[in-house]
């Protein structure tokens, strides 16, 4: 760990977004625009069963009746949904027999991102599902996992091979009627990951999805569905990057988690979509709906997110605590710099008895950015002895950025105990000077201070991700002071 840190510091030299390259992979796309035809065409391209086509069409029709939400503390430019390409896939054969058949340019892309897909080269013990534009490129370690009965595959494969599971759980946590972007995703989603942990299985490795938007003018709409049967455990990671482009690109994803009795599901995200340039040009609109349900008693869902990218982030990973004694956790670090905007937080809905939730949110704002925490803690009538603890801290760098906290509380049971703490602080010149005087330059000083501030959350990440996240925090804030 310690030598890792040195490596991070030495690696951090450039100011620019590191993943902004574009790969020349041959792509097959549908024409721009959104209508029922597009929705059906996507479904057809993917050879989907009729029930799924119908699901999409219903979602599309519902979407037409909805309006984009305006309640967030965000300035979102008008989005022309007819100017987006809804399906882009790297050209390929129907399926790969071996890695040799994968476009070398594509493999190269993932190698550049530090995600080797060749299993034999993988020492970290992380199974990866790589999603480029709309299509899952390759899932590693599937066979190893299959021996344990674990299903880890692309969403499309899951539709083909496990239609009953998909039919049963898809939309069960985030129905297409849920919100504007969920409806849009349900209509046009192209791929994503599916993960199923059978009863009594402790998943021995981290499962990971890596999302990459490559093609221009393309939206990315993937869905992830995780189902953990009784007495199981899984830790799931998600990472994302995109090329640097001048126009904004839309990413509207859905993640659903179903946790049965005595399960634990950890979901970690390091979000590093292209944030736009220094003047706020370009960047990804990241409008994502993530929700998990603790369906069974004694289950636990834990969201950990490190958000450094995207021009605009609108995202509230949430837990429905239905089972008695179930636990929901949300640990978040959200960094905004330059002209980035983030409105992020969580919803903890307590339904079962003795349910507990913990919210730790660390916002860091720099440049001219705006960073908001928005969280709802809802305790229903039947949720006796529910407990919530929320802590929302904001750290400001400079005086042109904003930090806001919007906590909402709805408590319908008077045995509930709900606590909320909030702090706002600034990185002081005196702190930086103190570091300088010990031989640490300002960039590294900010890295130290910010990572110290976010430590509580970073510690929740799996090791490999924690290192990447630390690095990202520092890169994101480079040049933001002085």
């Amino acid at each position: 760990m310690a030598s890792e840190q040195d490596k991070i510091i030495s690696e951090v030299t450039g100011n620019e977004y590191k993943f902004g390259f574009h790969s020349n992979v041959e792509t097959e796309t549908l024409p721009r625009g959104l209508n029922e035809e597009t929705v059906r065409a996507i479904s057809k391209k993917k050879n989907e069963p009729e029930w799924l086509t119908e699901f999409r069409v219903k979602a599309y029709r519902h979407w037409l009746t909805m309006k984009m939400p305006k309640w967030a503390h965000l300035k979102i430019p008008e989005i022309d949904y007819n100017d987006i390409i809804y399906y882009a896939a790297p050209k390929r054969k129907a399926s790969y027999e071996s890695l040799d058949e994968v476009d070398p340019e594509l493999l190269d892309t993932f190698n550049k991102l530090g995600i080797p897909l060749e299993e034999q080269k993988q020492l970290t013990g992380v199974a990866v599902d790589a999603v480029m534009d709309s299509i899952s490129v390759k899932t590693t370690f599937s066979e190893t996992l299959a021996d344990l009965g674990i299903i880890f595959c692309s969403f499309s494969d899951a539709v083909k091979n496990y239609p009953d599971l998909i039919k049963k759980y898809m939309g069960s946590v985030v129905p297409y009627t849920d919100n504007y972007f969920a409806a849009l995703n349900s209509a046009v989603f192209s791929d994503g990951s599916f993960c199923y942990i059978p009863k009594g299985v402790h998943c021995p490795m981290e499962l990971s999805t890596y999302f990459r938007i490559n093609a221009a003018n393309t939206g990315q709409f993937e869905r992830t569905l995780i189902v953990a049967e009784d007495d199981s455990y899984v830790s799931y990671l998600e990472g994302c990057t995109a090329p640097q482009r001048d126009e904004n690109q839309l990413h509207a994803a859905i993640v659903e988690i179903v946790a049965m009795e005595n399960t634990e599901v950890k979901y970690s995200t390091v979000q590093n979509w292209y944030p736009g340039d220094k003047n706020g040009k370009g960047g990804i609109y990241n409008f994502v709906t993530k929700r998990g349900i603790c369906k069974g008693d004694n289950s636990k869902i834990s969201w950990t997110q490190v958000e450094t990218g995207s021009a605009i982030t609108w995202k509230y990973p949430s837990c429905i605590l239905k089972g008695d004694n179930s636990v929901g956790e949300f640990y978040s670090v959200a960094v905004t710099n330059n002209h980035q905007q983030a409105d992020t937080g969580t919803k903890m809905t307590h339904i079962g008895k003795n349910t507990k939730s913990i919210v730790v949110s660390k916002g860091i704002s720099a440049g001219r950015s705006d960073n908001s925490y928005r969280g709802l803690v809802k305790i229903l009538k039947g949720a006796g002895n529910a407990r919530n603890f929320s802590q929302c801290d904001s750290l400001l760098l400079g005086d042109r950025c904003g930090a806001h906290t919007f906590p909402y509380l709805e408590v319908d049971n008077d045995t509930a105990i709900v606590e909320h703490e909030a702090t706002t602080s600034k990185i002081g010149e005196d702190q930086i000077f103190y570091c300088n005087q010990r031989g640490i330059d300002t960039e590294n000083a900010i890295g130290l201070i910010v990572n110290g501030y976010a430590k509580e959350v970073l510690n929740k990440l799996p090791m490999e991700f924690a290192v990447e996240a630390q690095k990202l925090l520092q890169i994101t804030l480079e040049g933001s002071v002085g």
Binding site: A2, S3, Q5, D6, I9, G428, E429, D430, Q431, F433, Y434, C435, N436, Q437, R438, G439, I440, D441, T442, N444, L448, I449, N451, G452, Y453, A454, K455, E456
Partner: protein, 252 residues
């Protein structure tokens, strides 16, 4: 090692130091004394490169270089250490991580390999024993929740670890009880080497019973009004600063 010529320093447009001349050679301990508001801490901050202190005139040569051309971090890497009067808290940053970064930045500057985790911990243990600090001090965040005395001891511990050429201790004795004072003084004395120098800034003579300076300078209204040997400190303790004030007042 350090030559200061006619140094003038302003803070927010107000001139605090009005022409300081001082020469510190290797192996020497200098004490700078003076009443409150005379500019003692300003001198320390200006030498360390705090940019809130504007240098309006003068020259400072340090180890053959123009000190004023160096960034604060490079001054530190060149072996200048400031023991802060009010060390700041940096929540969440562990002492271990902080000091390891500091040491390795310095090593990088000298084109040396970074210290391995094992070697670093060994060094830390060694220095902790040398300056007699509690081991739990280093397992906490930088100065966070430290008492006044702990913060000062922590400064001395950092000094021991970073092995500076020139240490400037800014009122390190203020607010210390007699035991802590002894620990601080012992630390300074143990680290005294022929190649090093120390500038001790203090209001009271008390510390100088433990750290015997080669020279004592009295700073008053931004000027060094009197210099002498350690006997001067004793004299000051007896007569108080009024004696100096009257004297320099009549000269002005």
């Amino acid at each position: 090692m350090l030559t200061i010529k006619n140094l003038k320093v302003s803070v927010e447009g107000k001139e605090i130091l009005k022409g300081i001349d001082l020469e510190v050679k290797a192996g020497e301990v200098h004490a700078i004394m003076g009443p409150n508001g005379s500019g003692k801490s300003t001198l320390a901050a200006a030498l360390a490169g705090n940019e809130n202190f504007e240098i309006t005139e003068g020259e400072v040569e340090y180890m053959g270089q123009d000190l004023l051309e160096l960034s604060p971090e490079d001054r530190a890497r060149e072996g200048m250490f400031l023991g802060f009067q009010y060390p700041v808290e940096i929540p969440g940053v562990s002492m271990v991580n902080f000091l390891r970064t500091a040491i390795n930045e310095k090593r990088k500057y000298r084109n040396e390999e970074p210290l391995s985790a094992g070697d670093f911990l060994k060094l830390m243990r060694e220095k902790k024993n040398l300056v007699d600090v509690d081991s739990d001090l280093t397992s906490r965040s930088v100065n966070e929740g430290f008492s006044g005395g702990e913060k000062k001891k922590n400064e001395i511990f950092q000094m021991a670890l970073l092995e500076p050429r020139l240490s400037i201790l800014d009122e390190t004795d203020s607010g210390l009880d007699i035991d802590a004072l002894r620990i601080v003084a012992n630390g300074v004395n143990k680290m005294k080497k022929p190649g090093n120098a120390t500038i001790v800034i203090t209001h009271y003579q008390r510390l100088l019973e433990y750290i015997v300076p080669d020279y004592v300078h009295v700073l008053y209204k931004g000027r060094i009004v009197k210099s002498g040997n350690s006997q001067l400190a004793v004299e000051l303790e007896e007569k108080g600063y009024d004696w100096i004030k009257e004297k320099s007042g009549s000269e002005a």
